[in-house]
């Protein structure tokens, strides 16, 4: 089984340095792209691979790139941004790639910037990822010294400057238009779309924002081609994916596996099954903003379309397990409290609705909830939905809430009937 993204990563040791990376074939793809491929050919290759964005939304990367206008005028800049603001509760996959193999990301970014003809690129990094920041800064210095960054890269007429921007906190910075406002030194509130960032992004210029895992694929695509990429997966969507499991399992961790492995394989073979004495009740399959899957979904294949067909989302591919000794109401309350706290306050359903939801859930958990709260929670979840808000924050918050109310209905009722949490 091939593990292109993680084969060189050794957890616990230092990041892969330039020498090691080059010896393993690093920066050969960059040379190939700059010498033998037109920018449009790189975009076409990514389109042909159907690489879906790995940040959570699963938008086709090649299509995102092809929306950027082709302009020859270098006085009008374009930008490439790597979204490394990983902060979705339960998600720890980008940190693994950033700490383990920064040159893989940097090479992917240079090739991607060449494809859209951007001459400035930023890595928008979560402030807390200090080890990743140190590794990235060192790797960027190495890349400048080796002539992979700066003016006339590898003797071509392509120039690129790459900067690391360490954020100042807040989950909403990971929303791509909020991220742009944050990079411009403003409050990180989302922007109206359209115009999409590909037309008007950072400083009003065409901008592509891609996730760490997405950009880490690009050098491999140039090296091995679209058909190879498709062959890595067990489903129609190409590639492997970083999958993680956290919660009461024997062996929590992160693994690079083909898209299409089942929830059961991930949970039992890789995460080692539930910790002794704990039973599986459900899981958020792709971070806090995805709908619960329960026991009947254990044979669902972990892929964008199949998880969607089961009523959830693949999201970031990092799964949080709910066990039988954790109260589902407390679990959902914790998640909704996060969303309420992290709402940027820009639009009403999110700003007003999330704290309302959080208070009702707290009250049910404390034993003072009323039966009508269940309808009110469902009402809020419905109006958080897509189309009612500027961005995906409140729709994301709706997912664990609406599915939790459905699958753990009896537990909610029990709290209200007994006027206490049965788990306390």
């Amino acid at each position: 089984m091939e593990r292109p993204l993680t084969k060189h990563i050794k957890p616990g040791s230092d990041a892969y340095n330039l020498e090691d990376y080059r010896q393993a074939g690093g920066y050969v793809s960059l040379r190939k792209a700059l010498k033998n491929m037109e920018p449009g050919e790189v975009t076409n290759l990514v389109k042909a691979s159907n690489l879906l964005g790995r940040g959570g939304a699963g938008f086709p990367t090649g299509i995102k790139w092809s929306l950027v206008p082709v302009e020859g005028d270098r006085s009008k800049p374009k930008y490439l941004i790597c979204n490394a603001d990983e902060m979705e509760p339960g998600t720890f996959k980008d940190r693994y790639l950033l700490e383990g193999n920064p040159h893989q990301l940097i090479e992917g970014m240079i090739i991607s910037a060449y494809a859209i003809q951007a001459e400035k690129a930023y890595i928008f990094l979560r402030w807390a990822y200090k080890k990743a920041e140190a590794g990235l800064r060192k790797a960027i210095d190495e890349a400048y010294r080796a002539g992979y960054l700066g003016k006339n890269i590898l003797g071509s007429d392509f120039n690129l400057d790459l900067y690391v921007h360490s954020s100042a906190g807040r989950y909403i910075c990971g929303e791509e238009t909020a991220l742009l406002n944050s990079l411009e030194g403003k409050r990180a509130v989302p922007r109206t779309k359209p115009p999409f960032p590909a037309i008007s992004g950072l400083f009003g210029r065409p901008t592509v924002v891609n996730n760490v895992e997405t950009l880490s694929w690009i050098s491999h695509l140039v090296e091995n081609g679209a058909d190879w990429f498709k062959g890595l997966s067990m489903t129609a969507t190409g590639g492997t994916k970083l999958f993680g499991v956290s919660g009461k399992v024997k062996n929590p961790g992160i693994w690079e596996l083909p898209l299409g492995i089942t929830v059961r394989e991930l949970l039992e073979e890789h995460a080692g099954g539930m910790t002794s004495g704990y039973k599986f009740r459900g899981a958020l399959p792709g971070g806090a903003s995805t709908d619960f899957l329960i026991e009947e979904h254990l044979d669902v294949k972990m892929d964008f379309s199949t998880v969607a067909a089961a009523g959830s989302r693949l999201g970031t591919g990092t799964m949080i397990i709910l066990d039988d000794k954790t109260c589902p109401v407390a679990f959902i309350h914790n998640v909704e409290k996060f969303f309420a706290l992290e709402s940027c306050g820009w639009c009403t359903p999110c700003r007003e609705g999330l704290p309302w939801v959080e208070k009702m859930l707290a009250s049910i958990e404390e034993g003072t909830g009323k039966m009508e709260y269940i309808d009110l929670l469902n009402f809020n979840a419905k109006y958080f939905g897509p189309g009612n808000t500027f961005c995906a924050h409140a729709p994301g918050a709706a997912e664990p809430l609406q599915s939790g109310l459905k699958y753990f209905h009896d537990d909610f009722v029990k709290h209200i009937d007994e006027k206490k949490c049965p788990w306390r």
């Binding site: 990983e86 902060m87 979705e88 509760p89 339960g90 998600t91 720890f92 980008d94 940190r95 979560r126 402030w127 807390a128 990822y129 200090k130 080890k131 900067y163 954020s167 100042a168 906190g169 807040r170 989950y171 944050s182 990079l183 411009e184 030194g185 403003k186 409050r187 990180a188 400083f203 993680g244 499991v245 956290s246 919660g247 009461k248 929590p252 961790g253 992160i254 958020l284 806090a288 990092t318 949080i320 397990i321 709910l322 066990d323 954790t326 407390a330 679990f331 914790n334 998640v335 996060f338 706290l341 992290e342 940027c344």
Partner: protein
């Protein structure tokens, strides 16, 4: 008043951007790095340097969770209170630390040694529960480890 060093560092940041206000977050971080927090006076000083209003600077300063608009202790403890850490028992860690230091979330010990704050997911979910003290990460925590960890920070 900003020090010469602070002005120099902020001016360096301004240079890489198309206009000065882009450096607002950088400027706030620079001030916090030197002074531990951002006072009303510093907000005004930054506004003047970036040629924007005090309110604009404060709107940014109060938005971001890692900019402190009140003084904090010499060491800041950030306990992850997100869902994986909840399942793995952050609440008992919080109770222990809170009792030991005699403060709850949002407070600073009277000797100014520690400020205790919650933090959203630290991306260490497979090693939960996790926390940070200043910029140091700690994970797979248990109550037995806390006394020794806190003793390292004076």
């Amino acid at each position: 008043m900003l020090t010469e060093e602070e002005i120099k560092e902020i001016t360096e940041e301004i240079k890489q951007y198309p206009y000065p206000s882009v450096a607002c977050i950088d400027a706030l971080k620079i001030i916090q790095h030197h002074r531990g927090w951002v006072s009303d006076e510093s907000v005004k000083d930054i506004a003047q340097l970036l040629n924007i209003s005090n309110e604009e600077v404060d709107s940014v300063a109060t938005f971001y969770s890692r900019i402190y608009r009140k003084p904090v202790g010499r060491n800041v403890i950030l306990i992850c209170d997100s869902v994986s850490c909840m399942v793995m028992g952050y609440e008992s860690l919080y109770e222990y630390i809170s009792k030991k230091l005699g403060i709850s979330f949002g407070c600073t010990t009277s000797d100014g040694r520690f400020t205790l704050l919650p933090i959203s997911c630290l991306g260490d979910c497979d090693n939960a529960p996790a926390m940070m003290i200043n910029y140091d990460h700690f994970n797979r925590l248990s109550i037995e480890m806390i006394d020794e960890l806190l003793a390292r920070y004076k």
